[in-house]
């Protein structure tokens, strides 16, 4: 999952970036509206966290511009004042949820997960694809109702594929949304991850696999047709 974080407070930005990365997110951050807008226009994101009070270009303007340019990723607004006028303005500009500062990190994480899930069209925290289920709030993955242990990267790959069920996800897209920019991108690593993931979520009862490989194009996760 790739997150755009625009926050001018250095301390808060660093903490959020660090903790979001710990949670397995890829984070691109900016300390002003102008740079943030540039990132939002140039790259693909799964979600943006935008502070309303930003230098140079206000958070409200960043949201409006992104929405006007048909950037549809969910946006979580951070507001210091927490007045209803701010909330209404932020959401009217095109944001999807708000969080009043100061907040607890778990609260932010819950909102982020809910927004990502919601934008993919899932209303409950439980993502299901055939015999595989993934709970975004608890981080549990079950195959045939039995818990499966995944590494953090495997989990992220699975979550991304499950959120984009039925879509073809290229290796490079997967790399971009799973790894940080400065990470050495080797598509073999992705192949290894996917291979291991496939073995771990293999069902004893079902023959069909939920993750297909489309040669030269990438991967697709979809419900097996029995």
């Amino acid at each position: 999952m790739k997150i755009l974080l625009i926050e001018d407070d250095e301390n808060l930005r660093d903490v959020l970036e660090k903790r979001l990365k710990e949670e397995g997110f890829v984070v691109e951050s900016a300390d002003n509206g102008e740079d943030g807008l540039y990132l939002g226009r140039e790259f693909e994101f799964d979600l943006a966290i935008i502070d309303l009070g930003l230098p140079r270009v206000s958070g409200m303007e960043v949201i409006q511009t992104l929405r006007a340019e048909e950037r549809s990723f969910p946006i979580l607004v951070l507001t210091a004042r927490g007045s209803w006028q701010d909330k209404v303005m932020g959401l009217d500009a095109g944001a999807d949820d708000y969080l009043v500062k100061p907040f607890h990190f778990p609260e932010l994480l819950a909102r982020v997960n809910a927004l990502v899930r919601r934008s993919a069209g899932f209303s409950s925290p439980e993502l299901v694809c055939g015999y595989v289920s993934l709970n975004t709030s608890t981080g549990e993955v079950k195959v045939d109702e039995k818990l499966v242990d995944l590494t953090s990267y495997e989990y992220k790959v699975l979550e991304y594929l499950m959120l984009h069920q039925g879509e073809v996800v290229s290796k490079s897209t997967l790399t971009e949304h799973i790894y940080h920019q400065d990470y050495d991108r080797d598509s073999n690593v992705i192949e290894v991850f996917v291979g291991r993931l496939r073995r771990k979520i293999q069902s004893d009862k079902h023959k069909h696999k939920v993750i297909e490989t489309l040669r030269g194009r990438g991967y697709r996760m979809r419900e097996p047709e029995e």
Binding site: G82, S83, W84, Q85, K87, V88, L91, D92, D96, D97, Y98, V100, P102, E107, A114, R118, S123, S124
Partner: protein, 452 residues
């Protein structure tokens, strides 16, 4: 710009005096002119009378000579220097009345028969006269004898009379002016007294001698003074509330600070959870007090805000945030319902209450806005009802919830603070808030009444 600062009293006095002078001056002039003309008419009539009287005593001899009967009908023509003089001029006949003894008058002009001339006035040797001259013919059996008859009156009397009249006229007019101006001054003084009193009141207010202006002003000023008092009251309330908020804030932060302080001095081991708990509590206190200080409260001078607009904005926002919950909102709003107060207050009021309803409801939220009309009030008040089909609020919880800064349920963040802010706002608008059980939705039912 100087005129703008010209005092009201001076404005009134100046204009009234000017108007009076112009009016009375014109009256004086018109009356004077009328008197002059009338008097002159009288002179003319009198002289004509003399002319006719004289014609009746002029006769001709058989030799066609003119002669005058011995007894003249006008005593003034006999009395020397009486001021009335008669002259006759004809061929071979020049006659002067006895009154002309020692008086020199200009020569009688020759006029044709039937011609009449009135000189008003006629100046001669530095004196003024009125003269009526007529060309006349007297007929006997043989012929017509022409002559010119002239009667002259000394104008001295006329001018004296005129001067006397003018003097009387102007004396009275000036006297009247003075009396009228006096009355005007009294009227003005009486009318402007409330303004003067208001100025004194305001000055006392500034000095802090009084807390509000008195309310016994005439209706023209009562609107101003009543509103001024309301404004003063608002300002005082705001100041009080802000002072109170600051005090509350300082006091309420002391307890958690003391706990953190003592915990840090605990040498054995610092209880991080306890400190974190205190910081959370401090954060909540600050948030609550900040919001409370932002409440603007009841305002006297404000434009009505259409409630439905704000309501729709908030519902739109909440529908977005609670998208997955698929809440059904039932809105019933009286058309044209307006909120007389601060825009932000209305947003907080509706936002906090409706968000709670969204949080707690199962599927349904109902919002009803009614207007409240009171006698003698131009503005309308509001009744806002918000209900949901959630678990409802127990009797015991209701009182606690409305108390300031108490949280109803620790699990739902912001619930207590939101409601406390709502309570504060409602209180600042002199309204009331009730929590009931909604019969139809079987959940919590909030009723806010905001008087006009």
């Amino acid at each position: 710009m100087f005129l703008r600062k010209f005092s009201l009293t001076n404005r009134l006095i100046t204009t009234a005096t000017l108007a009076l002078i112009i009016a009375l001056g014109m009256i004086g002039m018109v009356m004077n002119q009328a008197f002059k003309e009338k008097t002159l008419d009288l002179v003319k009539e009198r002289l004509e009378g003399y002319v006719f009287a004289l014609i009746s005593v002029i006769e001709t001899t058989p030799e066609n000579k003119l002669f005058i009967h011995e007894n003249l009908p006008i005593p003034k023509l006999v009395q020397p220097q009486s001021g009335i003089y008669a002259q006759i001029r004809a061929k071979g006949f020049n006659w002067q009345s006895e009154s002309m003894l020692g008086i020199k008058l200009p020569e009688v002009p020759l006029l044709k028969i039937g011609e009449t001339h009135f000189d008003a006035p006629l100046s001669f040797n530095g004196k003024d006269f009125f003269r009526m001259t007529s060309g006349i013919a007297i007929a006997n059996e043989q012929t017509e004898v022409p002559y010119v008859l002239s009667v002259t009156e000394d104008a001295q009397n006329y001018f004296r009379e005129l001067a006397e009249f003018e003097e009387t006229l102007w004396t009275w007019l000036i006297l009247t002016s003075v009396i009228l101006l006096g009355i005007q001054y009294l009227i003005m003084n009486w009318s402007l007294r409330p303004l003067k009193r208001l100025t004194e009141n305001l000055s006392d207010l500034e000095k802090g001698k009084i807390a509000k202006v008195s309310d016994d002003y005439p209706p023209e000023l009562a609107g101003l003074t009543t509103n001024l008092n309301k404004l003063l009251e608002n300002e005082r309330e705001n100041l009080d509330r802000q002072r109170k908020t600051l005090g509350d804030l300082a006091h309420s932060l002391k307890t958690p600070l003391a706990i953190i302080h003592s915990e840090l001095e605990n040498k054995d081991k610092t209880n991080r959870a306890l400190i974190s708990e205190q910081i959370t509590s401090m954060n909540e206190i600050v948030e609550y007090q900040l919001k409370r200080a932002a409440v603007a409260g009841h305002r006297t001078f404000t434009v009505g805000i259409p409630v439905i607009d704000k309501l729709e904005q908030i519902i739109r926002t909440l529908d977005k945030v609670y998208r997955t919950k698929k809440v059904r909102t039932h809105i019933q709003a009286a058309p044209g319902a307006e909120f007389y107060g601060e825009h932000g207050d209305l947003m907080e009021l509706l936002g906090n209450l409706i968000e709670n309803a969204y949080k707690w409801c199962d599927q349904n939220v109902s919002v009803t806005i009614k207007t409240l009309t009171l006698l003698n009030r131009k503005r309308t008040g509001l009744i806002i009802e918000i209900a949901d089909d959630g678990p409802g609020i127990s009797q015991a919880q209701r009182k606690k919830l409305l108390a300031r800064g108490v949280r109803g349920d620790e699990k739902v963040k912001g619930h207590g603070i939101g409601l406390s802010i709502v309570s504060d706002i409602v209180e600042s608008y002199q309204g009331k808030i009730e929590i009931k059980y909604h019969e139809l939705l079987k959940g919590a039912h909030f009723i806010i009444t905001l008087p006009p």
